[in-house]
Symmetry: C2
Subunit: 182 residues, 2 copies
Amino acid sequence: MSLSTAEKIIRVAEAQVRSGGYNAFSFREISKEIGIKSASIHYHFPTKADLGLALANRYTDRFTVYLNQIACDSEDLSTRLHQYIELFRHAIQHDKKMCLCGMLASEADVLPFPVQQAVKVFFEANLQWLELFVFADEPDPHAQAMLVLSCLEGALLVSKAMNDATAFDLAVNQLMFSFRKS
Amino acid sequence: MSLSTAEKIIRVAEAQVRSGGYNAFSFREISKEIGIKSASIHYHFPTKADLGLALANRYTDRFTVYLNQIACDSEDLSTRLHQYIELFRHAIQHDKKMCLCGMLASEADVLPFPVQQAVKVFFEANLQWLELFVFADEPDPHAQAMLVLSCLEGALLVSKAMNDATAFDLAVNQLMFSFRKS
DNA sequence: GTTCCACTACCTATCGGTAGGTAGGTAAAT
DNA sequence: ATTTACCTACCTACCGATAGGTAGTGGAAC
């Protein structure tokens, strides 16, 4: 499969942002990696903010597709939650990286406003999905969703800090355990 | 009170890192803010990595002092946990910023190695304290500690994403609620 | 008189971004 | 069928700004 240049740019940029954040990715580094000149990237994405926005939007879009799949595939609320968790586990175990929007969220203060908004959309989409498709039948779905999302993003962060992906499982399994008892 | 220049540098640098991460703070910005030349900062901290390391170490030291105080002041495990949570709530509600080491953890891949290690020490210190002084009497203190730390760091991150400090309380209160039922 | 601390002046490397050009393809007008 | 015109997707060369970092100076304090 041969990817379009724009797609290559986005993939390399996403990897760089997920490793070091918005200020750690550069047109020059991307251009080196895919074998074009940095000026050529401006043809596809006029400014860095444009590329950052495209990154966040694409990430949310792909994530949303998975969320819809999960909701369609399984009726069982507990199964849905486990599959949801798998999405995050994949980030730390397969990519060994943070969630893109988790990474960007931590730097929200220094992000171009459109990127900030796009990151917020990702989190709103996640919360809404959890409320509707996992915690709808329980008391305070909003708080439950917030707890799960916080725990997952935080578990990724702690795993990065410890350089140990098993930290993610430890935290998340404990959360699941606390749900089982209630 | 008149602070030493080194102390001023550290304070301004910490604020900048907690807003935008390691790559978003610069000697020039710091120097402008405290009214000296950027070259003068190199006298106190020879390299950026040195300053970053000093930042992380001081943050951990100050945090550790609070942890010891909490352990001494209160015998009740639940009270200790609530006071521990207050440390994190202070970050998002008073400073409106991430935890310094939470911020750095997310960028671990692109950090100078000594800074990486210092960040890891912060997390290890937190986990150990939680295990010893909060969850010692419960089954699997390690997993419990990991859950609490993940949830707190994640709740800060989600609050930054949503630009809404109440998200932190929502997630954390829900976590406390799930503990009460067990 | 040495140590401390900040200065001036400068360096190299890199940043995001711009200007102008060009090879190759497409498509409509002549 | 050929010319004219425009488009895509890159290129080279360069801009001003900023990054971290260095060498050497000089005054004040001990």
